[in-house]
Amino acid sequence: MSAASNPEPDFQMVFESLPGLYLILDPGLTIIAVSDAYLQATMTERAKILGRHLFDVFPDNPDDPGATGETNLRASLDRVKRRRMSDTMAVQKYDIRRPDSEGGGFEERYWSPVNSPVTDSGGRLLYIIHRVEDVTDYVRLSEERIEQRQVTEELQAHSARMEAEVIRRSTDLQSLNEQLRSANEAKSVFLANMSHGLRTPLNAILGFSELLIDDVDDSYDRATRLSFLAQIHSSGKHLLALINDILDLSKIEAGQMEVRLERVVLRELVDQVDDLMRPLADKGGVSIEALIDSEYELLADRGKLKQMLINLASNAVKFTPSGGKVTIGYQGAEGQTEIWVEDTGIGISPENLSRIFDEFQQIDDAISRQQAGTGLGLALTKRFAALHGGEVTVVSKLGLGSRFTIVLPHLARADGSSQPAMPDLVPGAEDLSQPLVLIIEDNPAAAQLLARYLTSGGYRTEIARSGLAGLAKARQLMPAAITLDILLPEIDGWDVLTQLKRDEATSQIPVVVVSVVANPDLGLALGALDYLIKPIDGQELIRLLRNIGLASKPGGAKARILIVDDEQAHREWLADMLEGAGYSVRMAAGGREAIETALLDPPDAVLLDLLMPDVTGFEVVDALRGESAMSNVPIVILASQDVSVADKRRLNGKVSAILSRRTEAAAELLGLLQQMQVGARQ
């Protein structure tokens, strides 16, 4: 029988062959027909589902508690029954049960189902056609698209971020460029000001010396010639001060300025400043008063604090009219020490106040032009204070006076009265295999800081607060190394070093003399022996000699000084100056000559240049100290450059003082000598 010969189609067969997924349900949801495609898609067989309830055949995946397929389908079918209208469901995710023959379990499919009612002419529901479109591939595709879109968006966002970063960096570069340009300009201005500052005294020196050279027929009288020489001399001194200030500034800029903390009795320092200011103050008719308790001590770099005070005091004296008064006072407040210099002078206008701490910013008025300052004093004072972690402040009123205050932070306070006690670094659960370092350091903050560095570097630490405690702990603990501060209570670091080396038990322990570079934080921490710099101030040198017991006695024998210096001019200048002060002087131009002269006829004191071409000062010290006749004669070192820690170690215990070529530092020698208790030979 063919289809052509039979005009009545086999609807059953046609339905089952439809290229779509169809189920026919009765109103009770029993499956009464199914297309082959449906069977294929659901991996089931017709015989297994016909006549069964829809949800018996296609239950939700029992393993998926969030499955909503059955609920959604039931709701849609209910709507169809109620409304007699076709109902399109949202895309459903179905877990299709796989036949056991194919491994069982469920397969995830996305279906878009439509349920349509079939009613008779009276509107009675006969069947429900359940048609499903498998949109799994479509859903998968669109999911991929979403993913791709997300990736694209991320890429776009990333590129936007990159762009922003590029813009930010180029802005940074621009502003860095600006900073460099303005720093460069500042440097140029500084250079221009500096060369002007250097040229002014140099021109005076050249001008007046030219007048004297050209005066072939002695037309100038003696007083005129002396006034020319005085101008040359004062210009030279001014030039030296300027160069020293510039060197100090550049050292600070390069981060090479050391801060050597030590106990400073403020009153002693202020008295020295007072002495230095006296001639200028007397000349200007200005009185100086110091309101400093003689007991008050602080931790500071002696030389720098003194220079700060000199700068402030000399400004105060210069800008105070005759009959005025300069007062130096202090306040040991909680947390800091304030030292102030107050005057009854001309004052500073508000517009000038903001720039007086800048380099070369001398206020351009009649009085300041008469005052030969370097223009760097206040700038340096501020930087020195900053090196101590402090600052300089100023209040001033035109016509009434000014008050400059040096503020040094609490850490610098060393009298123990208000400084919070810092506990020793107590070794906790420490690793005994780590090497032990003994820290001999009297400043608790400095010791703590060192201990922290050493601990982080893998060492155990032990702190001794004095030289004697240090010696005891060294013998008891036999540390792997010792760090040694120089200025210690009871016995100083050099003594500790000597005793450590003398004791067989401790002589092999390496000792590091700790010195700290110019880092404001670090700089606050440690102290080291101070020393002084050339050129020597004649008056100071004579004071020094008196102080070590070598005063020239009227009618008595003159004290004999041996001057050892390879620089002829300096040697002769020293000799003139000392002979003028009543000393008997002999000279040696080199180390070998010095040793011969000294041993032939031992002098009462030796002034010794450290750096000489043939036999150096170090060798002279060694040679002289080895001879019994010379072993106790005071030797004063004249250092033409800063003496390094290594140099000082070489000179350990063998010299009475190290005097360096810087006028303003020379006064400290007295304190240093007293500290060292240099024995004088009468």
Partner: protein, 128 residues
């Protein structure tokens, strides 16, 4: 002697330069009066009329060129030649000096060996 008793009023605030200029000019036979600022210069002018004014440009208070303009505007002092003395050697400084009415211009540092002859030749130019 080049100076021949000629009176020079030196307006200069720096004491070192005052001394130096005085020594140079005295040696060359000039007489010298010193003023440390513009006001002192005005006082000095009322006391004795100089043959020439050597004027430091950078004075405290009223500067040297301002003072020069005032002198040139005053019939009593307009004829006195003014020689500007400045620390700068820029062409613009020179122009500014001549614009203010200066008869000559010298830049620092002061040359001890030429200052006197420089002033003499400026005086000769003005007279001629």
């Amino acid at each position: 002697m080049t100076g021949d008793g000629t009176l020079v009023l030196v307006v200069e605030d720096n004491s070192t330069n005052q001394l130096l200029i005085t020594a140079i000019l005295n040696r060359a036979g000039f007489r010298v009066r010193i003023a440390g600022n513009a006001d002192e210069a005005m006082t000095s002018l009322t006391e004795e009329r100089p043959d020439l004014i050597l004027m430091d440009v950078q004075l405290p208070g009223r500067d040297g060129l301002t003072l020069t303009r005032e002198l040139k505007a005053n019939a009593r002092t307009a004829a006195i030649p003014v020689v500007a003395l400045t620390a700068h050697a820029m062409a613009s400084d020179r122009e500014a000096a001549f614009a203010a009415g200066c008869a000559g211009y010298l830049s620092k540092p002061i040359d001890t060996r030429t200052l006197a002859t420089d002033l003499t030749s400026i005086l000769a130019t003005v007279a001629g």
